[in-house]
């Protein structure tokens, strides 16, 4: 996986598709780039633009402004698409910003692999997005076709085997209920907006206390007992922060596989905890 990014460039989806969407879609105005968001993505995937030069927060601000001007289902679609891409870019940017240096040790290789993995994920996402247009076209085209589907002539009906009825009255009512219950309408959960604030620092303290015992601990074990998503997120961010302080090391054998964390700090004092999470406003 640790091949040079340039060799992957031809795999990037053609810019043409980005240009098609361009007139109607979201445009970005930045110091380093001015144009449609989709083109920005294309350029980044082709590595013609350095991800580290893009201020994602500025892109996000512009996007929110753009969304306010939209209406209806388009807004939801565009918003979710933006989120998917932005999250991937964010992952990728984090990987890009982390210290790299020369290719001297295994950790650096692992880091590059992580970057490539994210890159592959972005490509894959775009591939499915592009091919979904084919699905949409085919579904519409085929819905205009007419298959012969007429009522069976009476003279053949008598030959259908006798019906074996096995549904009880109560089961029948349950079926009606099932069939008539409105399908759940997808909603964006708002609960998180009111979630109590969770301190990354406190969660880091918890993580540190577990790790300092010396044995490697899996991420799964680190979040055991966390009953809120926010706690899980905070512990994860705490780990990233600890990594930045070179206090922990990661091991993950396969994508999406078990993540194992080791305590690697040589000079750790709890004072370090005080500044932890400062970037997140706490």
């Amino acid at each position: 996986m640790a091949r040079s990014p340039e060799r992957q460039a031809p795999a990037a989806p053609p810019t043409a598709s980005a240009d098609e969407d361009a007139p109607a879609g979201f445009r970005v105005h930045l110091a380093s780039f001015d144009g449609p968001f989709d083109l920005l993505l294309s350029l980044i995937t082709k590595r013609e633009l350095d991800i580290t030069e893009i201020a994602l927060s500025a892109v996000t601000d512009e996007f929110l402004t753009y969304l306010r001007g939209l209406d209806g289902p388009d807004e939801l679609d565009e918003a979710s698409e933006f989120l998917v891409v932005a999250v991937t870019l964010l992952d990728w940017k984090i990987a890009s910003l982390l210290p790299q240096g020369e290719l001297v040790d295994a950790e650096d290789v692992a880091l590059l692999e992580a970057r490539d993995l994210l890159f592959a994920r972005l490509l894959q996402y775009r591939a499915f997005k592009e091919v979904s247009a084919w699905f949409a076209e085919r579904l519409v085209a085929e819905s205009l076709r007419h298959a012969r589907s007429v009522r069976l002539e009476d003279r053949f009906r008598e030959r259908t085997p006798e019906l074996r009825w096995t549904t009880s009255l109560d089961d029948f009512a349950a079926l009606a209920l099932l069939a008539m219950t409105p399908r759940e309408i997808p909603v964006v959960g708002l609960d998180h907006l009111h979630a109590p604030l969770i301190s990354i620092r406190e969660q880091a303290a918890h993580v540190v206390s577990l790790l300092r015992r010396g044995d490697p601990v899996t991420f799964r074990q680190l979040i055991a007992g966390a009953d809120q998503k926010g706690v899980v997120v905070a512990r994860f961010l705490a780990l990233l922060e600890l990594y930045r302080h070179a206090a922990v090391g990661f091991e993950q054998l396969e994508p999406l596989g078990e993540l194992t964390v080791r305590w690697t700090a040589e000079n750790w004092s709890d004072e370090n905890l005080v500044n932890l999470g400062a970037d997140y406003g706490q």
């Binding site: 009522r151 549904t167 009255l169 109560d170 029948f172 009606a176 069939a179 409105p182």
Partner: protein, 208 residues
């Protein structure tokens, strides 16, 4: 699908302008007619067909006669496994009589003895919301229910209750056979399901 198609179709611009409607000149009437007859569920009147293809009645009559002969093998082609017959004032494609036995055998081996889950659910919807149109069923089930409704009709579990005179939509109701299968005497004995729906059922107010 019905012979009353015209009543539910919005007038096209051509109608409004009084311009002739129908198939483009380069399409042979017989080809357009066989296309229509392949998907029409009900026998089609000559007048209805003429309106559909936008050609004079005599032309349509001649084309129908041509098709009958054609399918009978009189035009040089094979004698088809199907035939075009006029029954009760309308034209419809039927299985040719001498192949009835083949089709009977096929229908027998292909028809499941049990209803599918989709058929049962649709039947349940009809039972609780009858009389109900196919469109209304489809919008509740969020799927195309045409073939399922046909199966239920074929099984004698539902019947066509009436046709809405304005929309032309056929409304379906359940039959005595369903009551017998469920072991009840009347629809009043169906378990009440409204209390369960109260929580999330807005928009389904008329469920009994």
């Amino acid at each position: 699908m019905g012979s009353d198609a015209e009543t539910t179709t919005e007038p096209t611009e051509a109608d409004v302008e009084g311009a002739p409607r129908g198939i483009p000149d380069h399409i042979d009437v017989a080809r357009a007619l066989e296309a229509i007859l392949m998907v029409a569920d009900e026998p089609q009147s000559v007048v209805g067909l003429a309106a559909g293809v936008g050609r004079p009645v005599e032309d349509v009559r001649a084309a129908l006669a041509e098709l009958v002969a054609d399918y009978d093998g009189a035009a040089g082609g094979p004698r088809r496994g199907f035939e075009l017959r006029e029954v009760g004032g309308g034209w419809r494609i039927y299985v040719r009589g001498e192949l009835d036995e083949v089709v009977r055998e096929f229908v027998h081996t292909q028809s499941p003895a049990k209803l599918s889950q989709a058929a049962l659910e649709t039947l349940a919807v009809i039972a609780y919301k009858q009389p109900i149109s196919r469109g209304a069923i489809a919008s509740i089930r969020a799927v195309n229910v045409d073939s399922v409704v046909r199966t239920l009709l074929g099984r004698g579990l539902i019947t066509e209750a009436f046709t809405d005179s304005e929309t032309g939509a056929i409304h379906y109701a359940t039959t005595e056979l369903l009551l017998t299968q469920l072991g009840i005497n009347s629809l009043d004995e169906l378990p009440k399901i409204s209390p369960l729906l109260d929580d999330g059922s807005r928009g389904f107010d008329d469920v009994r």
